[in-house]
């Protein structure tokens, strides 16, 4: 029987969901007054009687207090009426709705048997004078994401159980490479979405020619996945010819009379050339190796970098990106992005317990006109809302506090948003290393395998195109956080009972990547027909490369198997033996009785031809803008505070649970009204101990348009400044790199990547802060109508720092009238890439640098001041400079301040101006609040460094700034400043 249960709110009950959708419809630019009714529909296919369906409704599906329902056995009889539109949205075939399993379980609990399938859909009844074009916009742009959903015609839904048959007697598919020409090879790669280039295809052809046979489809897929940019990082590990073009200042435009010899001398550029073998090893990893910190436990070798925490535990940290999937399906993409990075600590060593998440997003500008969007892209505001919801859903349900993050807006992220997600985990000492043993069984644990996420690794390694949402739709996965939570709970039990010898997560590349990596030194055989499936009908190659979520792979000795399976079974987690590790270094796959793959592990992991790519750095032709100085800078300050990149991110932060697990010491929002922007968050992972962890991040893609090198230096400086601001020290700080760049085949894009990697080396070394893990995501470009839009090269530096005593934490809000305000660090006319210039539609050229003579000393000295409890509040000067830092400290503390700019250390050969001092974004600067009684002690610590006492906290609501000429240049009510800062992103 088929039952269609429709549930809606009773009349008079406020429907928060419906009112949210009305707001979203208005955001689409449709301002016609409408009303909206929302119905949840359950389509139930079951052999049950009427009385049972009544029980299912009244005891389970319907909240009797607020909802009403109806049951029909067939389609709705709905006749079209004027100004009333019905849109029903259901998941596409093959997309798994996590709710189905829960509802089936609950019906079993009711004691009712005979349920075949439960499928949900949503029905929206919209009333209003809308045109059919407007209804189409609402359907396509808001209610339906065709990657995972469709709008259904009325009538019963086709059920999955009926429509797909099991594939058993599979024909083995061979791909003819042996007779293929180069052109054919390229064609095969393209058609199969393999993203392999000609050299790689040729290497594969050569390998198989040796064995006198063609590869099977799954062999080719395995190679494509293992060799994808996403998995092997060929750009970072390959060979790069690096050319720096430095403009020759003596260059003169040649005239005809010059002799040819002097022509050669009189070159436009000085050229510096270098060959780099393995960029990663020669920059980022090199710094770590040379710093050789004794507290680095495991770096660049596992799923996450590991450092020491206390005498019983180590801590690991990893940040990943999930950009392309989030562009196509923001909720699902971000949802599985955070879900995936959580599995990294779970798969580090023998498994870590996640203790906090971070997330950093780059979106297109939210007020971007919908009519100008490139074909095939979603509106940035929709992407932003979807991404935030996706992270909220997964992070909150996993019970992991989201502590730190950033949200940036720039037009060039319109078609290719960036979604960085990070997770740190706590791991007991002695559980950091793992080793697969010969004859160990391969056990897959957690979620079932489905068609979701096919080709994710290769798809994310290529460019997005306007067809991506059609062709690569299956690369988007749907997450089920509760499955992952169950895996986590049981995994930790199994770990503590020493029931497995190694573990890794199923991420990009699915089983192919996980088993391939674990069996790299030994070899493995896998029986693909034993892998538990979500539904029938998957081909063997789909099973192998599916990126279905919430799966971990373990290696387990035969002796432990029974005990291990019992641990998982006791909490309803599925665990299945799918094969074993061998010792002949060959990867063999079977499907029923057929062998479908036999590949040498050596070829799989080392057969990839090395690339040689060209990188060119050319200084852009830029100049400083001429801005007329204005006497009263108050309106400018408000404008800077309202910039999307500066404005309050409270709307995002509040949607994340940042306090679950109970360890919160310093929250992302601080101050007298709990709404000021904390520099970093502090958490204590072990509730009975005062030892804590600080987490922060630095990101500023605008600087990269002027100099990728100084952008990277700034990101490191910024992440470290924030650690200092809350009372930490750089001595126990480690950092992570995440490069998101455009197409590295383009020499200037690769050039900026290389120079920022050099800066990473230089400043990691300089500050003595090692990199412990990192990741790159390249090809962040969008091809539409033959033109490619690239993101700006975007480097994220995440920092994690161990703090011995969290009772010494300080927050950034001004504390008490009368306290002294210092600026520490030198202000220069460094406004290139600043928010101030951005509000004037300029970029500038003098980008902030990091002064190697002073920066480290400033950071260390401030640490000793906080360690001696001499500081009441501290905030770093970043986007918007000193003016923004002061404003934020004022309104977070609910106190005013009187500031005298002439007292700030200010160094320039050029013109000295109030606006420059206030809005310059020079690095390594801090605003510090100190009690009068500690004046001498504080100043003596900073002796020899640039600092100035610029004013004091006042008992008013006014921030007053007296300029270099001692006349006021800012006089602002702090509540108005706060309003300017809060309004833009208060969605």
């Amino acid at each position: 029987m088929f039952y269609r249960v429709q549930i809606k709110e009773k009349p008079g009950i406020f429907d928060a969901q419906a009112s949210g959708i009305i707001k979203d419809i208005q955001d689409l630019g449709i301002q016609i007054p409408i009303s909206l009714e929302f119905c949840q529909i359950y389509n139930i296919e079951a052999d049950i009687v009427q009385a049972d369906i009544k029980r299912i409704c009244e005891e389970l599906l319907v909240d009797k207090i607020t909802q009403e329902y109806s049951v029909t056995e067939d389609a709705d009889s709905f006749s079209a009426r004027k100004d009333c539109f019905v849109i029903e949205v259901a998941y596409n075939l093959g997309v798994m709705d996590p709710t189905e399993a829960s509802v089936k379980k609950a019906i079993r609990d009711l004691g009712i048997k005979g349920i075949k399938s439960v499928q949900r859909s949503k029905k929206y009844i919209i009333r209003g004078k809308l045109s059919s074009a407007q209804i189409k916009i609402i359907t396509d742009k808001l209610l339906v994401n065709k990657v995972i959903q469709h709008s259904v015609g009325r009538g019963p839904q086709k059920c999955l159980s009926q429509s797909v048959n099991e594939l058993k007697a599979t024909e083995l598919n061979y791909v003819d490479l042996m007779s293929a020409t180069d052109a054919k090879l390229i064609n095969i790669s393209k058609k199969g979405q393999l993203f392999l280039n000609l050299d790689e295809m040729r290497a594969i052809k050569k390998y198989f020619t040796k064995f006198k046979r063609n590869p099977t489809d799954v062999e080719l897929e395995t190679l494509a996945q293992t060799w994808s940019e996403h998995c092997v990082h060929k750009t970072f590990r390959g060979k790069i010819e690096y050319i720096e073009k430095i403009p020759n200042s003596k260059f003169q435009i040649p005239n005809k009379s010059q002799n040819p010899k002097s022509k050669i001398k009189n070159k436009k550029f000085k050229i510096k050339k270098k060959i780099i073998n393995n960029l990663l090893k020669s920059t980022i990893m090199k710094a770590t190796k040379e710093l050789d910190k004794p507290w680095c436990v495991s770096v660049f070798s596992d799923n996450a970098g590991v450092i020491k925490f206390d005498k019983n535990y180590d801590v690991c940290f990893k940040v990943e990106t999930h950009n392309h999937p989030s562009a196509l399906e923001p909720f699902g993409g971000a949802n599985t992005g955070i879900g995936g990075v959580i599995r990294d600590p779970m798969g580090t060593g023998l498994g870590a317990k996640p203790i906090f998440n971070t997330d950093i997003f780059c979106f297109g500008t939210p007020d971007y006109p919908a009519s100008r969007l490139p074909k095939g892209t979603l509106h940035p505001k929709r992407i932003a809302k979807g991404v935030v919801s996706g992270v909220r859903d997964y992070g909150n349900k996993m019970g992991i506090p989201t502590l730190n993050g950033a949200v940036l807006f720039d037009e060039r992220y319109i078609a290719n948003p960036l979604v960085y997600c990070g997770t740190a985990g706590l791991i007991p000492k002695g559980k950091v290393f793992k080793k697969v043993k010969q004859s160990d069984l391969i056990v897959v644990v957690g979620g079932r395998t489905g068609r979701d996420g096919i080709h994710g690794a290769t798809f994310s390694s290529g460019e997005l195109t306007q067809e991506s949402e059609d062709v690569s739709g299956s690369a988007v996965q749907i997450g089920n956080p509760i499955t992952e939570k169950k895996v986590l709970d049981t995994l930790i039990t199994a770990r503590d009972k020493n029931l497995y010898s190694s573990i890794t997560d199923c991420g990009a590349g699915g089983l192919s990547s996980a088993v391939g990596e674990m069996g790299q030194d030994l070899g493995a055989e896998v029986y693909l027909d034993r892998v538990p499936l979500k539904y029938k009908g998957l081909k063997y190659d789909e099973i192998w490369i599916s990126e279905a979520q919430e799966r971990m792979v373990l290696s387990v000795s035969k002796n432990n198997l029974k005990k291990l399976l019992k641990v998982f079974e006791s909490e309803d987690v599925e665990a299945t033996v799918i094969g074993k590790f061998t010792n002949d270094k060959i990867l063999r796959l079977f499907y029923y009785d057929k062998k479908v793959c036999e590949l040498g592990m050596d070829f799989l992991h080392e057969g990839i031809p090395l690339y040689k790519k060209k990188a060119v750095v050319l200084k852009p032709k830029l100049k400083e803008p001429r801005i007329k100085p204005s006497k009263d800078l108050t309106p400018t300050l408000k404008k800077v505070l309202s910039d999307y990149n500066v404005a309050s991110k409270e709307w995002v932060i509040r949607q994340y649970d940042h306090e679950v697990q109970g360890g919160s010491v310093l929250k992302p929002l601080v101050g007298v009204n709990n709404d000021g922007p904390s520099d970093a968050s502090v958490v204590r992972p072990i509730l009975s101990s005062n030892k804590g962890l600080i987490v922060s991040c630095g990101i500023n893609p605008r600087y990269g348009e002027i100099s990728a090198y100084w952008m990277a230096a700034t990101c490191i400086d910024e992440a470290l400044r924030q650690i200092i601001c809350v009372g930490g020290s750089i001595k126990r700080t480690a950092i992570l790199d995440n490069f998101c760049w455009g197409n590295p085949d383009n020499p200037d894009r690769l050039g900026s990547l290389v120079s920022s990697a050099y800066a990473c080396y230089d400043f990691s070394k300089y500050f003595g802060v090692p990199f412990i893990s990192g990741k790159d995501s390249l090809n962040n470009e969008y091809r539409v109508d033959g033109k490619s839009i690239s993101i700006p090269g975007t480097l994220l530096i995440s920092a994690i720092s161990v703090m011995d005593d969290v009772t010494k934490v300080i927050s950034m809000d001004f504390k008490k009238p009368g306290n002294l305000i210092y600026i520490v660090g030198e202000t220069k006319n460094e406004l290139g890439g600043s928010i101030y210039y951005k509000t004037k539609n300029s970029l500038g050229v003098d980008v902030p640098r990091v002064d190697k003579n002073k920066a480290k000393n400033i950071l260390e000295k401030l640490s000793s001041a906080t360690d001696r409890s001499l500081v009441r509040s501290m905030h770093d000067c970043s986007e918007g400079g000193m003016a923004v830092a002061l404003s934020e400290m004022c309104f977070a503390g609910g106190l005013g301040a009187d500031i005298f700019l002439a007292e700030a250390p200010y160094k320039t050969k050029n013109e000295k101006r109030n606006d420059y001092v206030l809005f310059s974004e020079s690095n390594s600067r801090f605003v510090v609040e100190v009690e009068r009684k500690n004046k001498e002690k504080f100043e003596s610590i900073l002796k020899g460094l640039p600092f100035g006492m610029i004013g004091c906290v006042s008992n008013t609501d006014i921030l007053t700034v007296f300029g270099l000429d001692a006349k006021f240049c800012v006089k602002a009510d702090i509540n108005q400043l706060k309003e300017s800062w809060q309004a833009p992103l208060n969605w």
């Binding site: 009797k64 949607q655 679950v660 697990q661």
Partner: protein
């Protein structure tokens, strides 16, 4: 002294179990984390504990509605054991998702046990919110709320916490019996609207107890304000050793020690 035993019920999606255990242990109890399968299969006997705590989280993903599927499981799999537990005069606390479970299973109900007449539905803001709330506490009726100051400060973190009732009569009964234990307020204890009332709850209701005062359910998280360093403004207002929430757990443990 014998420590009262607290069972902290876990299931798929529970996630505030460990900090709830920490709170009970700090309060002098002996708390154990137990998966529901262990009770359903009779490997663990509910009656060997004095206090049952259902902690926060997203049981079964909050699919269908928050807490609903776990409530359903308690009602159909553990009805007898829970009925016995309550009849023995033992204590129950449900926090956040646990409150949603208690209400939807009808364990916290005005009319009769296992009959739902209260609900907790989507926040008026339409979204999950994590924010600190002041709560006007009524410390007379409920065992768990004894000696609480007039106003306490706990964070909420939920998307479905709006307290609603079947009809006005139920509200009258709750008031009459003194069952309304916590109401969202401002720092002075005045009942004020959003954001002080973070979800639009009827009469600002944040937590209620049963007629005996032994079963408490509340949306805010007392286990997240056990130590002074969890307070959002300790860096400006000074670091206290303990937070407002500890007394709730102490009250439970103390009552169990004396009476159970």
């Amino acid at each position: 002294m014998v420590k009262p035993k607290i069972i902290i019920l876990r299931t798929a999606g529970t996630n505030c179990d460990k900090e709830t255990k920490f709170a009970f242990d700090l309060a002098g109890g002996k708390a154990e984390l137990v998966h529901i399968n262990e009770i359903a299969s009779s490997r663990i006997d509910l009656s060997s504990y004095q206090i049952l705590a259902i902690p926060g989280g997203f049981s079964y993903g909050d699919d269908v509605a928050a807490g609903k599927i776990l409530a359903n499981e308690l009602t159909f799999k553990l009805k007898e054991q829970i009925t016995k537990f309550i009849k023995q005069g033992k204590l129950i606390i449900g926090i956040c998702n646990g409150f949603q479970v208690l209400v939807k299973a009808g364990i916290l109900s005005v009319d009769s046990l296992f009959k739902q007449d209260i609900s907790l539905i989507n926040n008026d803001s339409g979204k999950f919110e994590d924010r600190w709330t002041y709560l006007k506490a009524q410390n007379k009726k409920c065992v768990w709320a004894r000696d609480l100051p007039e106003v306490v400060y706990f964070p909420v973190a939920h998307g479905e916490g709006k307290f609603v009732l079947d009809n006005k009569k139920v509200l009258g009964v709750l008031k009459e019996n003194g069952q309304i234990v916590f109401q969202y307020s401002n720092s002075k204890g005045t009942l004020t609207p959003y954001p002080d009332n973070p979800n639009g709850s009827l009469d600002n209701i944040a937590g209620i107890c049963d007629k005996t005062g032994r079963i408490l359910g509340l949306m805010p998280h007392p286990e997240r304000h056990i130590m002074g360093s969890q307070h959002p403004r300790w860096t400006r207002e000074g670091l206290k050793k303990y937070g407002d929430g500890l007394l709730i757990f102490k009250n439970g443990v103390e009552y169990a020690r004396k009476h159970l």
